[in-house]
């Protein structure tokens, strides 16, 4: 039986767009009972001929565009630049290929749609719907088959088979999950991820070097109000050895200088100072979700994270003054060595980077 009910419609007399009556072809749907307006292409043979020419022209133009694409591909040098109105200078090869290839594709579509709109029928037809629900006898039959199957398999009869199967099926994915364990090849000297996250490359006496030229920093080279991006002196060596950027992702710091009177508080315990003559060093990695920060407003001593706009007051222990970050930016205790270069006194006292479950567990 036909789902679309076309059996019922075969052979019916219906009115077509031309106003004449014809027989429905087998498989044709009856026209809908709606107002239908003739198009020019329906009544005027010249308009029809014109539409045919337009469609064919679009298809032909598409083929021309393919030829032009190949010409562009071969002829235009990779570094040629062309200036387009409203867009400005852009790569000529890319633009030429995009336009020719794009038009080659677009014109096929334009031709097809124009063809459908002007030349194919525009008589709306009706197709009946049927409820999604299956007929009751089918549903009953399914229930019967199920019952028979249940009986024949004795699935209900032996609960022990059922239960052990369910148990086995529940456990069988476990090897797959377990075998994901070595997604992290844990080095022998690392106990837990959180322990790894809590240490950085900074050791007592590690020199601070600038982060691009890797030059050690003399205290007097940093002016009051200035900011220097720095990394540990052994970073490059460690990166070479480990072949990754992990150490950098934790050890990056900024050094700022203010007059000692400007400093309201530091993260050092009472009676200690972690600055060196107004030079303060903080982690560069935001405690929110880890973006590196170096937007510093010298006048207010505010450090602003460009990603989510957390603000930290560097003159006041780098406490959060605004934004989504909760923990302050950890301070690195610094001093100078015999040659007057800035060095770390120790590692950070607080974990750097984003918070995690074990961040405050010692």
């Amino acid at each position: 039986m036909s789902e679309d009910g076309m059996d019922n419609t075969t052979g019916q007399e219906i009115a077509t767009s031309g106003g004449t009556t014809t027989e429905l072809q087998p498989g044709q749907h009856p026209p809908a009972d709606v107002a239908h307006h003739l198009r020019r292409t329906d009544s005027d043979p010249r308009a029809q001929a014109r539409a045919v020419r337009q469609v064919a022209a679009m298809f032909m133009l598409s083929a021309v565009m393919v030829v032009l694409f190949i010409v562009a591909f071969v002829a235009i040098p990779r570094d040629a630049v062309v200036s387009l109105p409203y867009i400005g200078p852009i790569g000529a090869l890319n633009a030429a290929m995009g336009i020719t290839f794009g038009l080659a594709i677009f014109l096929i579509g334009a031709g097809a749609v124009h063809w459908a709109k002007k030349l194919m029928t525009d008589v709306e037809v009706v197709e009946e719907r049927h409820p999604m629900k299956s007929p009751a006898e089918d549903t009953a039959l399914v229930a019967d088959i199920y019952e028979v199957g249940k009986e024949e398999s004795a699935f209900a009869k032996y609960p022990i088979i059922r239960r052990t199967l369910i148990g086995a099926m529940a456990l069988v994915p476990i090897p797959f999950v377990v075998s994901l364990r070595d997604l992290w090849l844990q080095p022998a000297d690392v106990t837990t991820p959180s322990a790894e996250l809590k240490t950085t490359l900074w050791r007592p006496g590690t020199r601070l070097v600038t982060d691009i030229t890797y030059q050690p920093i003399k205290a007097e080279e940093v002016p009051v109000g200035g900011l220097v991006n720095a990394v540990p002196a052994d970073l490059v060596e460690v990166e070479e050895e480990e072949g990754n950027l992990n150490a950098r992702a934790k050890a990056a710091v900024i050094v700022v200088r203010m007059t000692p009177e400007e400093i309201q508080s530091q993260q050092a315990p009472d009676g200690e100072n972690w600055d060196y003559e107004g030079l303060l060093c903080f982690s560069k990695i935001c405690t929110h979700v880890g973006c590196p920060i170096s937007l510093y407003q010298q006048r207010t001593h505010l450090l602003l994270c460009p990603c989510h706009q957390s603000m930290f007051d560097l003159a006041d222990s780098a406490n959060v003054v605004f934004g989504p970050a909760y923990r302050r930016m950890p301070q690195l205790p610094i001093t100078v060595d015999d040659e007057g270069y800035l060095v770390a006194v120790s590692d950070f006292a607080e974990p750097v980077g984003p918070s995690f479950w074990e961040v405050n567990k010692s």
């Binding site: 679309d4 498989g27 749907h29 809908a32 009972d33 709606v34 107002a35 990779r78 570094d79 387009l84 852009i90 790569g91 890319n94 633009a95 030429a96 995009g98 336009i99 290839f101 794009g102 594709i105 014109l107 096929i108 579509g109 334009a110 097809a112 459908a116 029928t121 525009d122 037809v125 009706v126 009946e128 999604m132 364990r181 837990t192 991820p193 982060d211 991006n229 950027l245 992990n246 950098r248 992702a249 934790k250 990695i285 979700v289 880890g290 973006c291 937007l295 602003l304 460009p306 990603c307 989510h308 706009q309 605004f322 970050a325 980077g353 984003p354 918070s355 995690f356 479950w357 074990e358």
Partner: protein, 583 residues
């Protein structure tokens, strides 16, 4: 049509069809489906755009895999892009630069890939709005709605995973944020992050892992879901808007063969061609400007692709809240915006069809779409959700806005925090009022006809506006409004005083139902409409001579001078306004 009339090529085709049919019985299926009727409406093309841009994503993506090297091994750049010469970078970034500068057509394909991904996500979002606001998700299409919501979420993952592959500074920063979010997961966060990245961030495994996910896992899932999505549309037949001859039990439109095939097939080429032209002239994601990723650098004003913007905005708006539980840390400032809010948004969207069906007690099949105004509460909830989303999305660019309008970041954040709570509520209320007003106007139209904007002066001096009867389409559309009444509260006890066990849930349901339908403007009864029609035709009869008289009195321009045609004794024009030879 007999075989003799077929051309050579058609005979080959028929032969192939027979060959396949003898093996899989395909002709029976084709006989039922080749002339399937599809209703026409511009908004039905939104889903098509999503489908077609996905195909374009797949095609251009396959091309990119031929050149892209998903490796984090460090190399020194030695390509034609001078500013980066000698810079250390990952092989992934190096090969992405080679695709952009050395491979002819590589940049075009990269831009086609990126643009079509943007088209894909935008089309999904707008298509979802269409389906929601017209009630197309109602029975029997709830399951397909869930498939759609899952597709939307998967599309976000597809976009984000692709955006993160080139290993430029922008994509690496996105990954760093993703790592921060994983770290915030309670109990297993650090382990999950180490397993994902193969150790600490960034390590050297992630790009190749993400590559497999981006080119195999996620597209596989999308492809499977799209297939299910389309099969369901096919089986259930497309919904249609109300109109003349359209009922809940039919489909009015064009048959697949040939009209819909040509239109939909042609539309694929239109979408593909348009994306390609845009990719040729509009630059997207110029990775060479950002430089290679390094975890200690970032550029100010960085923006994610649009579909991630709302999550970034949520991260920005969330106040700093961190809980300590027995010494362990729960970073709600990250967890809420990055995991809980999107989780709630997608869950609420997915279960909405059942919530509404329960609240309204509606168990019927719906194939006629509902006009948004006729479901004021649903429409208002949708606009509320979009407003919530939009505020978060704007927050994702708050720094750019603050710079552009010379505002302080603090002010922007507070403004948006307040907006996030207040604007959705206002939007809900306002939308609902607008919908109800539109319902009232529809009622007016049924009872008094359409306002023509034409003012008539009656002989005794009164001015009236001429009302015209509605045309068939207008009438069919307005009359399709369902008569939805709130469910009454069930009795607390039955006649013999036994407590009704369903009283409590029934009361909740009655309240929800009143929330949905309580204020609905009643549709006039058939009787009232009949009277109105009579009245209107009387009016038309009455106004006819007046209108004629007025038409005659209208100043006409006959080519050189303006004049009024003279009126006859009976008030009718003595001659038709002539065409210019009456001088």
């Amino acid at each position: 049509m007999s075989t003799e009339q077929l051309s050579g090529i058609e005979r080959t085709g028929a032969g192939a069809a027979t060959y396949v049919d003898e093996r899989v019985g395909s002709n029976s299926w084709l006989s039922r489906n080749l002339n399937k009727v599809f209703p026409d409406h511009w908004s039905f093309m939104l889903g098509e755009i999503a489908l077609y841009s996905f195909i374009v994503v797949l095609l251009s993506g396959v091309y990119l895999t031929l050149f892209f090297k998903p490796s984090m091994v460090e190399v020194i750049y030695d390509g034609p892009y001078v500013p980066l010469k000698g810079v250390k970078m990952s092989e992934a970034y190096d090969s992405a630069l080679a695709i952009s500068f050395e491979v002819r057509g590589g940049l075009l394909m990269r831009q086609i890939h990126h643009w079509s991904a943007l088209f894909f996500t935008v089309a999904i979002a707008v298509h979802m709005f269409r389906v929601f606001f017209t009630g197309a998700f109602r029975k029997p299409r709830e399951l397909n709605w869930v498939v759609g919501v899952t597709l939307a979420a998967t599309a976000l993952l597809a976009g984000f995973s692709g955006y993160s592959l080139p290993d430029d500074l922008l994509s690496g920063t996105g990954l760093r944020i993703a790592e921060g979010i994983v770290l915030s997961v309670p109990i297993v966060g650090t382990w999950a992050s180490f397993l994902l990245f193969g150790g600490e961030f960034p390590s050297t495994d992630f790009i190749s892992r993400l590559y497999g996910i981006h080119i195999l896992l996620i597209p596989g899932i999308i492809l499977a879901l799209v297939t299910v999505h389309l099969m369901m549309v096919w089986t259930q037949k497309h919904t249609q808007f109300p109109g003349p001859a359209r009922t809940n039990n039919n489909v009015v439109g064009y048959p697949l063969m040939p009209v819909y095939m040509a239109k939909a097939g042609g539309f694929f080429f239109l979408v593909f061609g348009l994306i390609t032209m845009i990719a040729g002239i509009v630059q997207i994601n110029p990775i060479w400007i950002f430089g290679p990723y390094t975890p200690d650098q970032v550029s100010a004003g960085t923006q994610p692709d649009w579909y991630i913007g709302w999550l970034d905005g949520a991260l920005r708006l969330m106040p700093p809240v961190e809980w300590s539980i027995f010494g362990y840390t729960l970073s709600l400032n990250v967890l809420v915006p990055a995991a809980i809010i999107p989780g709630l948004v997608f869950t609420a969207a997915a279960i909405y069809p059942w919530l509404e069906a329960w609240a309204t007690g509606d168990k019927r099949e719906h194939h006629l779409l509902e006009r948004p105004r006729n479901a004021p509460t649903r429409t208002a909830l949708g606009v509320m959700a979009i407003t919530f989303y939009t505020v978060l999305w704007i927050a994702g660019g708050n720094d750019i806005i603050a710079v552009g309008f010379d505002l302080s970041i603090n002010f922007m954040i507070w403004l948006l925090r307040i907006s996030l709570i207040a604007l959705p509520a206002i939007a809900f209320w306002l939308t609902r009022r607008i919908c109800l007003s539109l319902q009232r106007r529809d009622r007016e139209k049924l009872l008094h006809g359409r306002e023509t904007g034409r003012i008539l002066r009656l002989p005794h001096g009164e001015f009236i506006e001429v009302h015209a009867p509605l045309n068939d389409t207008e009438r069919a559309v307005i009359e399709a409004k369902p008569d939805s009444k709130p469910i009454p509260i069930p009795p607390e006890t039955d006649s013999s005083g036994v407590r009704n066990p369903k009283y409590r849930s029934g009361r909740v349901r009655a309240r929800l139902s009143r929330f949905f339908y309580g204020d609905t403007i009643e549709k006039p009864t058939a009787d009232q409409i009949g009277h109105a029609d009579e009245h209107l035709s009387d009016d038309v009869e009455f106004e006819k001579p007046l209108l004629e008289r007025e038409a005659a009195a209208t100043v006409v321009h006959d080519g050189s001078v303006l004049h009024k045609p003279s009126l006859g004794e009976d008030g009718h024009p003595s001659e038709a306004p002539d065409s210019g030879d009456g001088r």
